[in-house]
């Protein structure tokens, strides 16, 4: 589903910073993958390239067989809208829209009518246990609730994969567990899930851990704890 071939990325802010150095990666449909690494190792850059939020300098990126390169901003937006769901560390909900409107927003950009998209958004909020909170503003929600709204928003367009950048970074350990359980449940329904995390406890809940170090894939670890640990177990 995802194939990266020799991806390189350099930032030119003063001294050139070679962030990704020849990344080769293959992720199958339905996999639950985590990307780990120290700060500055390039894990967020890799996630941004996967999410078509950022471009790469050299190499090849295939998403569902489509070569992702030199896309116009409009085409990128369209691909992001249809193929990818995003979950951010700081939730990134729009503060002046209620939970329902936030969840429905990606469908607005697909020109789905208000009534239909609100109905679908309510179904997703219900699925994530937030039906009663549909008309509450983000400021009235807890951290866990905000992240569940963000997950519902990521799911609403039925994307091919979900990219989550430190999805539990702003949450306490109990809420983190709830969120990771939700992500795991979604993955079990066949959704490809890629998360960036620096928490090994979270990474251990995924099928595959990609360790990045100084812009290169240090090692890819198949998770042997998968079958033993349930998502409910404590995050270490």
């Amino acid at each position: 589903m995802i194939r990266l071939e020799n991806i390189n990325k350099t930032y030119y802010t003063g001294t050139p910073l070679h962030v990704l150095k020849g990344i080769d990666l293959h992720i199958e449909k339905g996999e639950f993958v985590s990307i780990m690494g120290a700060s500055g190792s390039g894990k967020s850059t890799l996630l941004n390239i996967l999410g078509i939020l950022d471009t790469y300098d050299t190499g090849k990126y295939y998403l569902n067989g489509t070569f992702i390169d030199n896309l116009t901003e409009t085409r990128s937006s369209s691909y992001r809208n249809k193929l990818i769901g995003f979950v951010f560390q700081s939730f990134n909900l729009i503060s002046f829209k209620n939970a329902l409107e936030n969840v429905a927003l990606p469908l607005y950009y697909q020109k789905v009518g208000r009534r239909t998209r609100n109905k679908i958004a309510l179904e997703y909020l219900d699925k994530l246990g937030l039906k009663e909170w549909a008309h509450h503003m983000p400021a009235e929600l807890s951290g866990g609730q905000k992240q569940r709204v963000a997950i519902a928003r990521a799911l609403i367009t039925k994307p091919h994969m979900i990219l989550a950048d430190e999805p539990t970074g702003a949450l306490d350990s109990k809420t983190s567990l709830e969120v990771i359980k939700i992500l795991r449940d979604i993955n079990r329904e066949g959704m490809t899930m890629i998360i960036v995390t620096h928490e090994s406890g979270i990474a251990n809940k995924t099928d595959k851990i990609i360790h990045l170090s100084d812009g290169v894939i240090d090692r890819i670890e198949k998770n042997t704890h998968k079958k033993k640990s349930s998502p409910d177990s404590e995050i270490k």
Binding site: N48, S77, S78, K82, Y109, R114
Partner: protein, 418 residues
């Protein structure tokens, strides 16, 4: 096409920071309000002045005799002279470019008390003599009958045209005065018509209180010989009155042995020049009103543009999130432009409405437009349409810069701004 979702989005963002939106919009509102009030006020002043000149041909002039200021051809200076019938004949014969000429006799400045009588009704009114052309120069609408005609003048007929106040004094309301006799200074005249003149711009008193008779009749009955007090003339279309006036002055000076350089002997009041000056003045007022109004409006628009820039800066992260969720650059641009346009349009159209309301209140307050007359403090529909067009253009213009800035925001850069 009307997109309810789009308008909901716009209203959400505008009402999110109400105070700022209102203050921003106020700049535009005030600009448009000022533009409407100033142009409407300037227009009212123009209409007021022009209404007072109504009925007078704008291409006319009046010429009368004065005392000479130069000794010439054996005549001493300070000599009195009069225009006469021969002058009129020569002028009609030789002057090129005139349209109508009327000799006028005023019959002296003192009027006997109750000089006009009909039965037991009497009043004190001024008498003047003229020919049929006078009504082309100083127009009157005829309420009854007709104006003085050429045959009246030719045959020295004892007919008169009376003003409305004369009619009200001598006749009962609705009574047809045509053919009725009235006594003026002891002589009986038949009423030919009633002219509804106004007291706006008039010579020798209020035409409503004047009795007009053929100038030949007046010369004969009042023993004026061939004397004429003044000459009224109009020029043909596209011919400057000053040219005609110059020709008349030259003939008069030649006929009466007046030095060509004597500036005092022939006195003229050129209405065309006056009207041109008035037109120039009001053009200046209009330009000033537009400069001040548009300047204020531009200041408001720059305010909108500035605030939209600040808004885009503040909403960088939100724009990034929207972009990440699938908003195209064009939809972001259109969103920002729509917001700018909406603020400007709402404020602008409120400005037009309150401007018109303000003018209406001034109209009612001053009372100059009352009495069934057309309101003075009004704006043309065309002005309102132009103002609306300017608002639409400026609203779009105000949003252009911020919209381009918003469009260029990269989602990755925006999302990293936490």
């Amino acid at each position: 096409m009307f997109d309810l979702d789009r308008w909901n989005e716009i209203m959400q963002t505008i009402t999110r920071n109400r105070t700022r939106s209102i203050l921003t919009a106020f700049g535009v509102f005030w600009g448009v309000f000022m533009l409407i009030m100033l142009t409407g006020g300037g227009g009212a002043l123009e209409k007021f002045i022009k209404r007072n000149m109504d009925g007078v041909a704008t291409n006319s002039c009046v010429i009368w005799s004065g005392r000479t200021s130069e000794a010439y051809k054996g005549f001493r200076k300070n000599r009195a002279w009069n225009i006469n019938n021969r002058d009129v004949e020569i002028i009609q014969d030789r002057v090129k470019g005139f349209d109508a000429i009327s000799p006028v006799l005023y019959g002296g400045w003192s009027v006997r008390d109750n000089n006009v009588v009909r039965g037991d009704k009497k009043g004190t009114f001024r008498v003047q003599g003229m020919n049929a052309n006078y009504n082309k120069i100083n127009r009157q609408k005829m309420m009854f009958g007709r104006y003085i005609n050429d045959i009246d003048v030719m045959e020295n007929r004892k007919v008169c045209v009376i003003g409305t106040r004369v009619y009200e004094t001598l006749f009962t309301a609705g009574e047809d005065p045509v053919g009725q006799s009235i006594s003026v200074d002891g002589i009986y005249y038949k009423v030919a018509g009633v002219g509804n003149g106004s007291d706006n711009l008039s010579f020798n008193g209020d035409p409503r209180e004047t009795i007009s008779i053929p100038f030949t009749t007046m010369q004969q009955l009042y023993h004026f010989g061939d004397r004429i007090d003044a000459l009224f003339a109009t020029s043909q279309p596209n011919i400057a009155m000053s040219e005609v006036q110059q020709q008349i002055e030259t003939i008069l000076k030649s006929n009466h042995s007046i030095a060509p350089n004597d500036r005092q002997a022939v006195t003229a009041f050129n209405l065309e020049m006056l009207f041109r000056q008035v037109d120039g003045l009001f053009l200046g007022v209009k330009i000033l009103a537009w400069i001040v109004g548009l300047g204020t409006l531009f200041a408001g628009i720059i305010g909108v543009s500035n605030i939209m820039m600040v808004t885009v800066r503040e909403r960088t992260q939100e724009i990034g999130v929207r972009r990440a969720l699938g908003a195209s650059p064009l939809s972001i641009m259109s969103q920002i432009m729509s917001e700018s346009f909406t603020i400007t349009a709402i404020a602008g159209f409120l400005g037009i409405s309150f401007g018109v309301l303000g003018l209406q209140m001034v109209d009612l307050g001053t009372g100059v437009g009352a009495g069934g007359a057309e309101g003075l403090f009004q704006i043309d529909f065309m002005l309102a349409a132009i103002a609306a067009l300017i608002i639409i253009m400026l609203g779009t213009f105000a949003g252009l810069g911020p919209a381009f800035r918003a469009m260029k925001i990269k989602p990755i850069e925006a999302l990293s701004e936490e």
